[in-house]
Amino acid sequence: MKLPFKTYHRLIPVLTLLLLILAAGVQAQERAVTIPEGSFHSVLPEVEGEPHQIDAFKLDTTAVTNGEYLQFLKANPEWRRSQISPLFAGSDYLRHWEEDLRIGDKESPDQPVTRVSWFAANAYCGWQGGRLPTLNEWEFAAQAMDFENSTEANRFSSELIGWYSAVDTNSKSEVGSTGIENQYGVKDLFGLIMEWVEDFNPPVADDISLDCGTVGRMQGDPTVYSYAMSIRYITRMSFKPKSTTGMLGFRCAYDMSANEKEI
């Protein structure tokens, strides 16, 4: 059915606007995805042999980038490098950036922000209306990978162990670059950076010293995959909340809103 020219003339800006709104909506949706409730076996279970139950939550699809962190700093001067309290970070905080509000040439806006302390990560996520994911939430998302079979899973984990032992802080890539994605679209939980979690040093950690015996003891199910998980646990336990390192960044989690929970 042919419409008069005048109608088309009015429709085009309206359609363009609608498309832009749709695109923005899609982008906003893609920043975080819903991880549905479920359970998984942790190397540090609450109860021996029993899986952890995880309620549904939302998780950022990528780590927080330099560009995103810059927006946070513009709005919150007390977290800028020259102003941050020694209470919340050491002198290495964002030392790779050129200035308080300038990332500089060494890094791109799309690389994950690193050399941020736990306090800074925690504050960023609070500013975004979320929080850091708990250790269990993070690990739950991490094991939600779609492997064809256990051979594939083991090969993946072997590569991972190689990555953990040879991380090069100078060759950090951009978010999404690893090509590793879990079944819900969460990217780069491996192969890019280590990530802060809300409770990176839970009370159980006191009994555990960082040695081979610990790794052996931690593994309930002796696969390469759980071994990689153990390495992450042990590494995280060595962190302190003021720690800032070149390979440590974060992403945020969000609670489900009331109406979302009902679905």
Binding site: E46, H52, Q53, I54, R81, S82, Q83, I84, S85, P86, L87, G90, S91, D92, W118, F119, N122, A123, C125, G126, R131, L132, T134, L135, I161, Y164, S165, A166, V167, T169, E198, D199, N201, P202, P203, V204, A205, D206, L210, D211, C212, V215, I231, I234, T235, S238, F239, K240, P241, K242, S243, T244, T245, G246, M247, L248
Partner: protein, 200 residues
Amino acid sequence: MLLVSVTAVTAQHSHSDGHDHGQAAHHAKVMESDNTFHSESLYQVPTLWMNQNGEEVQIQDFAGQPLIVVMFYGKCTETCPMLIQRTWKLYSSLSEETQEKVHVLAVSFDYKNDTPEALKKYAEYEQLDLPGWNFVTAGQTDIRQLAALLGVQYRERSDGHFDHSNLITVLDKFGNISRRIEGIIGDLNDDLKFIESLVQ
């Protein structure tokens, strides 16, 4: 090979807890009572806590006086009752004069259930709804931040309870952490003497 791998990973972590005094100079805050800048003072924590009376409280409200800080939660069994008892023992054993100068900030881990109303009921049952005692709540990230600053480890369990370490912290008149009293067993005499010395 395992040990080497783990060491390699941990060795990559160049922690820095050093203070850049250039940064500190940017702070406008100067603590009252003396002219030294206390760079590690918890008065820098901006959180607005809400107490059992629905009043907003900040740690910096207690500037000039020692503050006893303890983290607990209302539904807790096993250790929290003893932790609160220990805090009470400590506080009530101070001289009357000192008791008037020392406040207590009891912060709940349980941001969901320990609302100001629930905290009021708790304080009343425990007979601790006293002028110097504040049972408080705030947002999840605020509580996490304080625990990280105090060195209290905790984890929320799937049954809604919290695994947590047991700690009573004493802040001096400038908001610095000056005493950490760990666990729920042991003599408190030296700690009492220490707090008395803080009010001199």
